[in-house]
Point group: D2
Chain length 391, copies 4
């Protein structure tokens, strides 16, 4: 079968000593310190993967390209990949995926061949203490489809059944169209935003004012989720015009061009205070990756009891001034992941109810054969979500 692979050489940077665990498993904690010379390759000779007793074999229908994927094929001046977190190469990429169950392992009880499914992609072990205690996103033995094991940019992909979810309600609404699979592929990033806002960030009261910094996919999906959950004013800050337009489609009430604001001498904080008639924002989401720019604005535009949600993963420390946060009884919630807590179930329900529509996010579609073109487009960062579709 076909599959889009990333190959790289394991050549630790000077000073980086491989840990025992890394040697034993081939999984590298800090990929940008070890994985060198990444090469993208469309393989056509992959065997259809074996299905374990508790696994599903998924005939992949849609698979999105995530920023992570791009960071695994881009490299710095020395040739090292950009991606700073754990990854095990060489693998088939793709962790935002959906498809049709083609085969079920012998101990699988909840799925049948023919089911439309997506997968969490995070293979939490279910046995370590964080998992037992209800924190699968903090699993101590996490594997990830498309990051540490073969992923969904392929004709078939294997996933443990316990992290797969049926797309029945979406199928009921949209019928047997390929849209169902695009929705399915985007359950995962929508769940990242949902987990950040509602599980980690503890949600908000309907009527709240929200400010979202950054119009990438998580910011866009956060905008949609926040609006559909009762925020009365949703303000998005984003420099790219296409993304601002998209934010309006997704649910933003107000969008601002940060570059334009800067030129006019107006700060985002001033905008927020103005739009909220001086009350400040109740929910603030840092989804831009430039926390050092965003936090000073956030701490000047807090509503009382404001919830700040950190979703962007940024390697740089962010300077935070506490007295204005103390004065407003504010808090910061650090978020990553999407598993557990009903998140996937709720996201699918919202999609099935027609309340979250992710189709406007899909700005381009490709076949696996167009792997190179698709990734070239991705690197330009003009698209919102690029989707591989197997039709």
């Amino acid at each position: 079968m076909k599959g889009i692979f990333v190959y790289a050489d394991s050549i630790p940077k000077e000073g980086y000593k491989l840990k025992e665990y890394e040697k034993a498993t081939g999984k590298i904690y800090q990929s940008n310190m070890v994985w060198k010379n990444p090469r993208l390759e469309l393989r056509t000779d992959m065997p259809v993967p074996e299905v374990g007793d508790r696994d599903l074999l998924i005939q992949v229908k849609s698979c999105g390209i995530c920023g992570t994927d791009v960071h695994l094929i881009e490299h710095d001046d020395e040739g090292y990949v950009i991606y700073p977190w754990h990854a095990k190469l060489n693998i088939a990429l793709g962790h935002e995926l959906s498809g049709i169950v083609a085969q079920v392992g012998k101990d699988v009880r909840d799925f049948m061949v023919g089911d439309y499914v997506c997968t969490e992609e995070m293979i939490w072990c279910g046995e370590c203490i964080p998992c037992r205690n209800g924190f699968p996103n903090q699993c101590e033995r996490l594997e990830e489809i498309g990051i540490t094991v073969n992923g969904g940019m392929a004709e078939y992909c294997v996933s443990p059944a316990k992290i797969c979810w049926k797309l029945d309600s979406i199928r009921e609404r949209y019928g047997d169209t390929h849209d169902v699979f695009d929705f399915g592929a985007l359950v995962e990033p929508t769940s990242v935003a949902y987990n950040a806002i509602f599980e980690r960030g503890q949600g908000f009261r309907p009527g709240a004012y929200a400010a979202i910094f950054g119009g990438g996919p998580v910011g866009q999906l956060g905008t949609a989720l926040i609006k559909v959950s009762g925020a009365s004013k949703v303000i998005v800050f984003e420099p790219q015009e296409e993304r601002r337009k998209l934010a309006k489609v997704m649910g933003a009430d107000f969008v601002y061009d940060t570059n334009e604001l800067q030129k006019s001498g107006t700060s985002p904080a001033e905008v927020i205070m103005d739009v909220t008639h001086g009350r400040g924002a109740d929910v603030l989401m840092e989804a831009s990756g430039v926390g050092h720019v965003v936090f000073p604005e956030m701490t000047k535009s807090l509503g009382v009891n404001a919830h700040i949600i950190q979703t962007a993963m940024s390697g740089e420390p962010v300077p935070i001034l506490f007295p204005p946060m103390q004065g407003k009884a504010a808090q910061i919630f650090a978020a990553v992941g999407h598993s557990g807590n009903g998140t996937f179930e709720n996201v699918i329900r919202l999609m099935g109810a027609g309340m979250i529509d992710v189709r406007p996010l899909v700005s381009a579609t490709y076949s696996l054969d167009q792997a190179v073109e698709a990734f070239d487009a991705s690197k330009k960062r003009l698209d919102s979500v690029i989707m591989f579709q197997n039709k």
Copy 2:
């Protein structure tokens, strides 16, 4: 000025001994044990009330008739009023009111003549321990406009400024129309539903399934609030056809005629399990007043971690079977009141954002001069909300 008064005689039922507090203040804890022979009267000779130092004088523009009002003028076979809670007669009725600030007390800092306002109507003291601790609805010295002091079915009404809220955002949306005042008058009952669902009931995750029993005003407003806050399926049970139609307008995805269900041998619990594909309801609201009928249905249709919200005030004990609740990790939240916790502010924001539209609830309007006709209509219980308008 004009005002709609209820007069009654203080004649304690046999066996009911007036407490010292009741003798001293004239406030009666159990009105249906003391207030006899209620008479409705349109007075035209009332003086415009005096404004205390911290009060606003409100020129009333809209005032709804609430079930409480009707229960204070209806009587049982012995001639005692139906209303079982605390009330001090004789007073001008009306606690769902809005209008224009006509005069401000000398110590008032946040309002000006001409402001459009509504009032919480619950005059929490702000000094007793529940008030200090953030529970104004549990105030130990509660007074209520239109229940223990003169209310809003009049040309003018006095309210402490601290329980008044400006309607600016609604006015921005709807302009200087009388609609703004109808919205304003219904902030109070909307806040009753909001307090029950989001403050007392702790809200729900977007995507949740909700079941609402009873299509009276609180059930209708609860339906609207739950839908706008991200419930993916909202199911309403109500025997009256007009109310079922209204529920659809307010946001219900499914409405069922409980009489019809009974005839067909289907229980509400079966309906819920069917609509939710066996997952059960995550939010269940008892707003019907027949808890003994509703609870057995709710305990058979619980989702895991279901929140049951009790808003109806019913004098009868409700038999509850705990093992099915334990099996589903369910909980019951008992709710009354609407003050505190940002509730009024959030309701006004939702109205100002066009996300909650209460106008479909107003089924009839009257002038004060039509007091008798309006209350006669109320007693028929065919209307949703009857509104007095001073134009």
Copy 3:
């Protein structure tokens, strides 16, 4: 090896039709409708059980007798067992157990031979939707050690590793004494109380006033947990003198004999209001099984925002009057189980810190050879916890 078995005949009561699931698995949902003529037997010929790939073989050192066990060997007039919930006979009893790891399955990663461990006993599947969503106590495919599979009243017992917990911190404190295993065996019932109070019941603020109805093991352990977590006054109601004395040892500040109160014409509600100087109780725990007696007392002695916790499993509906609950902004949490949410970990930590001492609860110890005597003693219900010890 030795093991204490309960045998019974599967003879459904007239009118009870076995479900397909019950036929297929032998697990019966309502044991008291099917299991007849229970016989207790000490077997000595049991083979040491096989260890699955993900299992531990535990050499049992301590195993408590729980009310469930007694209900599985007692019978009604027709000969049916008393226990009304799901059970699969014939099995070795015992679900409150601890011991030493004797063998580890080949896929087990977190345990070694020689580890001191206890087990959750609830074998949640980890794959059904409630399990995925963080509700293992609501697992749809629950098995239970000592209830549906062979338990700990034996020399050896098998448990999935994922539900086992190490007793290291308790061992650090108490050394290599048999006490460590008694603690270990009682982690399970302590976790039942912990889950009820802190997970389901959402805990309480330090300084709170607590009232506990019923001095059985869960009530006693609840008393200890509530006191050690900052309640300023803990009031226990219990008719048996020995249990009242024990409650004082466990942490109660006040204990009352309900029989004595009744004779003196004083109600528990009056006692609570008196002890709390009229503020009422903030936490109320129904652990007596006579909810119809307890709830009317609770609703008359509620503090503002009171949390009522239902732990007793009672087949009868409990009549609840809502207006006093609404007036006090009260809520009821229905609790069962103990898995998930850090509960076992925290209970072990508290025991290891010397903050929860369960030894006073162990009122009698027996060897497996004394099975009959031990159960005879249990049936008298004078003991708090009877412990089988393999020394």
Copy 4:
């Protein structure tokens, strides 16, 4: 009567422009930009203050010196006071106070002459939107006893009745001793810690591991509160030996000298990971004022779902690295104040139950006549709490 005053000159620093509000009220937002040449003076000619209709006149018995007080009399090189927040001089200092009610205003309903009381000192207005919404610590019109109006370092002091609390339960336990008033004076700082941990920081599960950075009064009182609420291990980091000893008395299980650690090349993070056997801390409290040193340690020693509580007020931005916080699902709560939410009531209950003993904190006592000596001692910062006592 006698009273300890601080006098200063209002001479704005160059570049600081007084706001209209500051000119109108004399209250200065940034005291260190305006108040120059502070002088401490014991006045003996003060008139006993007038009591407003809703006020109490308190005969002060104990009044603590807080860091705020010292910062209002110390000055920088240019002569400006150190205190950076709002203050209105000239006033009698003292906001940690207790005493006996000497007179009650005519509208006061809950107090009598002779009552033993303390006061919140934060005079929240009860009418602004944050106050209405349950956030008195965020009051928009806050006055503070001893900071913007005359305080408790005097023979008498006036306080609104609504912020006074009776010390009855403490008096019940300790009798009519002066200790009761020392407890009373320290209800305020204990409530600062309580508000930070339980209201703002959302508390923790019993069994939790806690790390407290800084052994000043708030750190000490936090230590006591955290231990009495069920933390199984409480670790305190503090360079001063006396404070470390005191922390052990207050409830710390482990104390570490940060200077000593540094010398030995061990970081606080390593200590925490060691003491918690690799699990990390569940509650982390920054009470040292050197957040830039503490946060990097905290982010390396987080337990899953860790709560970081910021109580110190520090003018410098603190650099925070988010990925380790995201990896552990951690959050930061910014805290200030102590009013509302049952905090004072619960602190008094804990003191009355003998569960929080603040007496070890009182390291020196003085009479008002010894004002100069007392403040000289305060400036040395060797004492924990210095108390003025009027005997």
